[in-house]
Subunit: 210 residues, 2 copies
DNA sequence: ACAAAAGTTGACCAAAGTGTCAACTTTACA
DNA sequence: TGTAAAGTTGACACTTTGGTCAACTTTTGT
């Protein structure tokens, strides 16, 4: 029965997962200070005191969520690789970023709010990691520029353009929906976004006849 | 002395202005729920109870700030005009957006936070206004496309790209600074951003030899 | 079957924060 | 100069919220 037990999620793992999932939704909507532990408890189907059995404080729940988001922060960057042609690399990157934004709206908004308000829960280690990852991929892009595969463009500003354009749809959904004349964004809105962003930015950075 | 009095700002106007200015800085950093009236009072140099003399509630201060921000929301769009050539229009637009972002960082972050958390303080009227203004400028861009002055691009997604790319620097300053390998963004970072965004996006949307 | 460990929970407490108010001071006006 | 209006403010009331705890129940392991 030990094997069955190992396969079944333990009570503590299940409850921690439920609490974090509820926390993501509510912190995304209401921010750290606007969120009540009682709300997280209610959404988790647990008594409030029980939440404190699994997490020592509200801040610990929030930090656990932030660390979880950081681990996946650079997933899409794997496409920016010297083994690929830049056109394909950027298309895949833009698509992956938009897919993440569409599928993880609450996470996107939570992380965005955290940054906008000063990134007070990001540690120096987090930021150093993000900086190193960025530097590594800037180097790949600079290599493409040096070999003539890309027009001369500031790679750092290019990445900012790409991050901003792709994250906007999930983060600023009310304005994105209004801007697109829609009440709510759907899969084809994200696909149209991938097309518009890819075509516009790729034409802007690839040599002619690219 | 009536004339002198008219010229001098009345006590109530001065205090309301000071309270709103303090409110912008603190709401931007801490969000609506994370901000304490006592903090706004202290930053204003007024006793807390006095803040309630001028504004009936914390929410009234916040709403007044949001309405103020809405009135200037579309200032930069004036450059998107049929009287201009698209290349010039977009360059001016991008520059104006970046200038606003650089000079009004706190306002940008406050407004961004508001949208990300669901735009709960924006009224239907506000959103209808923003939608109408956007529609009008989408029509101008569609006209340029129809006349061959622009490549076929979805104007709505193009505006989203432009908004996202230009606002990012002020809104996500910690990540923008890290991405640029800087500790803090300066005027020349914004100028480099204007160059990168203009060159990349304009090459992406203007017919060849543009 | 029993004991230990893990999990649950209603009630509670201390601190924080919004907002109020009566009494006062300052300004404006006739 | 005197009065009315505007502005100021320390103390307070009330509500909310993060977090605690003792006592209980359930699960796990021997």
């Amino acid at each position: 029965m030990a094997k069955a037990r190992d396969q079944e999620e333990r009570i503590s793992e299940r409850n921690r997962r439920i609490i974090l999932k509820a926390g993501i939704e509510i912190f995304a909507r209401k921010g750290f200070d606007g969120t009540r532990i009682a709300e997280i408890a209610e959404a988790s189907g647990l008594p409030k005191a029980n939440v404190y059995y699994y997490f020592s404080s509200k801040e610990e729940i929030y930090r656990a969520i932030i660390e979880h988001l950081i681990t996946g922060w650079d997933n899409a960057l794997k496409f920016i690789s010297p083994e690929r042609e830049p056109a394909e690399a950027f298309r895949l990157y833009i698509k992956a970023k938009l897919d993440y934004a569409r599928k993880n709206g609450a996470e996107s908004r939570l992380f965005a709010s955290e940054i906008i308000q000063g990134a007070r829960f990001l540690t120096k280690k987090d930021r150093d990691h993000m900086r190193r990852v960025t530097d590594r991929h800037v180097t790949v892009v600079d290599g493409w520029i040096a070999s003539g595969k890309l027009l001369p463009v500031d790679a750092r500003h290019l990445f900012i353009m790409l991050w901003a354009s792709t994250q906007f749809y999930a983060e600023f959904e009310p304005v994105a929906a209004d801007g697109l004349g829609k009440s709510r964004l759907k899969v084809d809105d994200y696909e149209a976004a991938a097309t518009a962003i890819s075509e516009t930015i790729l034409r802007g950075i690839l040599p002619a006849a690219g």
